[in-house]
């Protein structure tokens, strides 16, 4: 997994609430057996018309936002399915940060496994950053994970919280399977205890 330390880039505003995983990546693109290549179909049904042409009004189709690395979104981003194809598509497009007042649990957890930082902020902070994101190519935000700070285009700063373990894994690009496998003795001990106490499991 790619390390996440600091991202400075264009932030795209998506104020719609409840942006669900079917919007982020519709099911017809879930038939892949790979993690890569989904970026072109990110937000497919919002981004392209029935003929496959770009819809000019959609934010990521606007010249200023085509290279966005950050999304500032409405409440409850990523609700719906567990499909990790959603963060894979975001990452493949180039998105490294999503900012909202709230995220669906599974999507939130999936982001961290893929080097994407989901940031939860209070409504007033999201409103402020949504405003900043509305400035097109000037909507440059800088997200510093080490110091847990977002710096806006006017130099204003917003602090954010992040779980210490998740932060550590992101900063170092750690594969948590490797970390857990270091605990295989504890797992084996649990299995032995459980096999004696609950042999039916």
């Amino acid at each position: 997994m790619e390390k996440f330390t600091k991202v400075t880039g264009v932030a795209a505003p998506m104020p719609l609430i409840n942006i669900d995983t079917d919007m982020i990546i519709p099911k017809l693109f879930l038939k892949t057996i790979k993690r890569s290549g989904l970026g072109k179909n990110l937000f497919d049904e919002m981004r392209y018309d029935d003929a496959g042409e770009e819809i000019p009004d959609f934010v990521l189709n606007k010249p200023a936002y085509r290279n966005a690395e950050i999304i500032v979104a409405g409440d409850n981003f990523g609700c719906g399915s567990s499909r990790e194809h959603a963060p894979w598509a975001l990452l493949d497009f180039g998105i490294r940060v999503v900012i909202s007042t709230s995220f669906a649990d599974i999507f939130y957890s999936n982001c961290f496994k893929n080097g994407i930082l989901p940031i939860i902020l209070a409504q007033e902070d999201v409103d402020k950053l949504m405003d900043d994101a509305g400035r097109g190519a000037n909507a440059i935000l800088s997200v510093d994970l080490e110091n847990q700070k977002i710096t806006g285009p006017d130099g204003g700063e917003v602090s954010f919280e992040v779980d210490a373990f998740k932060k550590h894994c992101l900063l170092n690009g750690l594969d948590d399977i490797g970390l857990t496998m270091q605990k295989s003795d504890a797992i084996a001990a649990f299995e032995a205890r459980n096999a004696a106490a609950m042999p039916w499991v």
């Binding site: 079917d22 409850n76 567990s82 963060p87 649990d105 797992i187 609950m198």
Partner: protein, 466 residues
């Protein structure tokens, strides 16, 4: 001793270790696997030269992609689907996990197969790369969806790195009115809490109306916990649970059954247990329900009218207007005036035998509306066989329904069962998102009886008026 909730008890019983920073490692008793969210996980194992730690606790079944037409054994036409299905079979065989192939009568939707085969038992932790894993909570098992990276983590280590969720109680007091079902309960709750109301929580459903539900009904309730934002739903096991489990192929037998039973009887929330959030609903306040919009929280009683976007607040105003436009509805019109051209009966929400019985009861001796496309997709091959044995299949076919083979089908439309743009479906499934059942398709979520009623009349219909 501190009073514990049911969730606390199951959590504590599965804790392998807790780090100084509070990160917990949770043991997983059952891992269900399907073809869509697992290929990248198995590929990860191969690349790292890792094995599946507990293949005997891992169960694979194809469901999302499989065609449900009778000719499916001749082969899957869509190449990408076929590659994904072939990958699941190869991975299951290579890694030695339990596997139910497409031509096995036990094949079906993973959340129907698990309970049916006795893999899901009270007090267990159950995960699957699918958000509707919440279904298994009906047995008093802690069950939730995970992403593909976590699928790989569970395959390799049989554990998950987890932070504990908060406890939420949803109590449904009193008795349901006639015509009101488990589906209406779970939709009504989401209408009250919103799709983010359960975020960060595990919901325990309790109260007289929940106790009165069959296991099938309880699975329907827990299935949609995720649509309310909760990762998991739980219902404490009772005699109905034990009766359902007893005798299933992978349920304990003999002395092991007795030992299991005495443990299972300890699985309830202590009287003094503290919940972070509590919602109490009177069963008599729940009507047969229907969604009008493109979020599962867009729920109204069937007697209501389509809302105006201006009736909402904040970001919901824009979302409601977008939903009205997408759904092609006029505010103020009666929900019962909404015309339906497609009816889908099935899914992990409502694809069990009791659901098919409810449909048969409504349509017996009648015909669906001319021009209506109506499809019944049983949740498993065994559900299909039982429905045929009970004469339900015949009743449905005589009424004009297509009688399909088991799979996820038009719930998420990954297989050929899809809506065309502008088509409008009364569906017993769980999500009414934009494009969920096919690009431009419009979905109204309802109970099986209400879907059956709409198939007969051609419009959304109050089952109590039929």
């Amino acid at each position: 001793m501190t009073a514990k909730t049911l969730y606390d008890k199951i959590w504590d019983a599965h804790l392998v270790s807790t780090d100084e920073d509070g990160t917990c490692l949770l043991y997983i008793d059952r891992h269900l696997v399907h073809e869509v969210t697992s290929p990248q996980a198995f590929e990860g194992l191969r690349n790292a030269n890792r094995a599946v730690r507990a293949p005997e606790k891992t169960i694979a079944v194809p469901d999302h992609n499989v065609p449900t037409t009778l000719d499916r054994l001749k082969g899957v036409e869509n190449e990408e689907s076929r590659i994904q299905l072939d990958a699941l079979e190869k991975n299951a065989l290579d890694f030695g996990v339990h596997y139910y192939p497409v031509d096995d009568i036990r094949q079906g939707i993973v959340h129907i197969v698990g309970p049916e085969q006795g893999w899901t038992l009270p007090g267990m932790t159950v995960v699957c790369g699918d958000s509707h894993t919440a279904t298994h909570g009906a047995f008093g098992a802690l069950a939730h969806g995970i992403g593909t990276s976590e699928v790989e983590h569970v395959l390799a280590t049989q554990t998950l790195i987890q932070a504990k969720s908060k406890n939420m109680k949803v109590e449904i007091t009193g008795k349901l009115k006639p015509g009101v079902t488990a589906k209406d309960i779970t939709m009504h709750v989401i209408g009250q809490t919103g799709t983010a109301g359960g975020t960060g929580h595990v919901i325990e459903y309790c109260g007289e109306a929940i106790r009165a539900l069959s296991m099938e009904g309880r699975m329907t309730v827990c299935n949609m916990a995720i649509e309310g934002g909760a990762r998991a739903g739980l219902i404490a096991p009772d005699q109905k649970t034990f009766d359902y489990v007893m005798g299933r192929p992978h349920a304990p037998k003999g002395a092991a059954w007795e030992a299991a039973l005495s443990y299972w009887k300890t699985l309830f929330s202590d009287e003094d247990a503290v919940f972070d959030k509590v919602l109490t609903i009177k069963a008599e306040d729940i009507e047969p329900s229907v969604t009008w919009g493109t979020s599962p929280e867009d729920v109204l009683p069937i007697s209501a009218t389509v809302p105006f976007a201006s009736a909402f607040e904040g970001g919901k105003v824009e979302a409601a207007q977008r939903a009205l436009d997408y759904m092609g509805l006029t505010p103020g019109m009666k929900l019962t005036d909404i015309k339906i051209d497609t009816v889908f009966i099935g899914s992990c929400t409502n694809g069990r035998i009791e659901d098919l019985r409810a449909v048969a009861e409504v349509v017996k001796g009648k015909k669906i509306k001319d021009g209506m496309r109506a499809m019944v997709v049983p949740g498993s091959g065994l559900v299909r066989a039982q429905a045929e044995e009970e004469g339900i299949a015949g009743i449905l076919q005589d009424a004009g329904f297509e009688w399909r083979l088991a799979g996820c089908s038009m719930c998420l439309a990954m297989n050929p069962d899809q809506l065309q743009p502008g088509e409008r479906c009364a569906a017993t499934s769980n999500r009414n998102f934009e494009g969920r059942q096919g690009r431009g398709g419009r979905t109204h979520l309802v109970s099986p009886a209400m879907a059956a009623a709409a198939a007969l009349t051609g419009h959304l219909t109050d089952i109590r008026d039929l």
